[in-house]
Symmetry: C2
């Protein structure tokens, strides 16, 4: 049942609550390869996300080619960290698969979060690079990756080996909770 | 580092990938209490979700009172399973906390998914009951729980002890993946 995670010489499982609490945005990476097996685990996690009525309206573009990676970098003022990751994943909304209107943002967001959590659980790090709702970025990415008009690139994720450590935070805020009524 | 999860007489950790792959919507529950300590863990997970520019525009209404629970049930054709859960959580968008427009759906979706994953990791089950984008449901829930106009109830989650077992699925679909370009 328990999958063991290799970190250096050690094997250990990352428990789910631990993962939810310790996941942080990673923006510094050390360039090292990621195997196809690990990539598959990450993508499988994305496709395991809850989504509206099981419409699964997402599609994924995996970038490994360095020239293609430069096209993502060019669309942002602050995405140069992608030079240090072996893989980026663009999560896309495929309008042709939409069954229930106005749910696509939540469905793409849940797939995106599962990708980040899986990467974290595998000893990797990820950064969420927003595409939607910035129109010019949607257009630039759609054009750079030959996406048809019915596809909306939602967000890009650089996935790599972390070169920074961030401490666990307790982000619980009692003031944001109401009991039985507002 | 590893938190142990009690399930019956056994203690075990649920590994993060295991959790992502085995999380399913639970719609049948056996009524048993959930401690405040466990509730706090679940809410802390919700507040640990990635969100746009750290705006944390979410708020949470926790329902335990049975009359209040009936008000949620009344807003749906199919929410009677809430009679079998000790707790429901309504994830809300608080417009007064919004800094970056058009991101609130994704931010509420990531908090929602973290709540479901934490519940699953704690041996509990959850069901995502959509509120937004159904206008009449937004109005009914807002009114029933005395929410101000600047609050949009996003979704309600029944959290309880599962009375059904669902098998792990491999939802990986190679046809949804593109490499280096569409």
């Amino acid at each position: 049942m328990i999958r063991l995670i290799r970190v250096g010489f050690y094997l250990f499982p990352m428990e789910i609550l631990e993962a939810l609490y310790t996941r942080r945005s990673i923006r510094k990476f050390e360039f090292k390869n990621i195997s196809d097996e690990v990539l598959r685990k990450i993508l499988r996690a994305g496709m395991s996300a809850p989504n509206s009525g099981g419409q699964r309206l997402w599609q994924f573009v995996v970038i490994k080619d360095r020239d293609q990676m430069e096209k993502i970098i060019a669309a942002y003022p602050y995405a140069k960290m992608l030079r240090d990751v072996p893989i980026a994943i663009i999560v896309c909304f495929d309008k042709s698969r939409e069954k229930y209107e106005e749910r696509w943002q939540m469905d793409c967001a849940t797939a995106s979060l599962n990708i980040l959590l899986a990467a974290h659980g595998l000893g990797l790090g990820g950064v969420w690079l927003e595409i939607y709702p910035i129109d010019e970025r949607v257009k630039a990415i759609r054009e750079s990756f030959d996406m048809p008009e019915y596809v909306v690139p939602f967000a890009a994720f650089g996935i790599g080996h972390p070169a920074e450590e961030k401490p666990e935070l307790d982000r619980y805020e009692e003031s944001l909770i109401h009991y039985d009524s507002w």
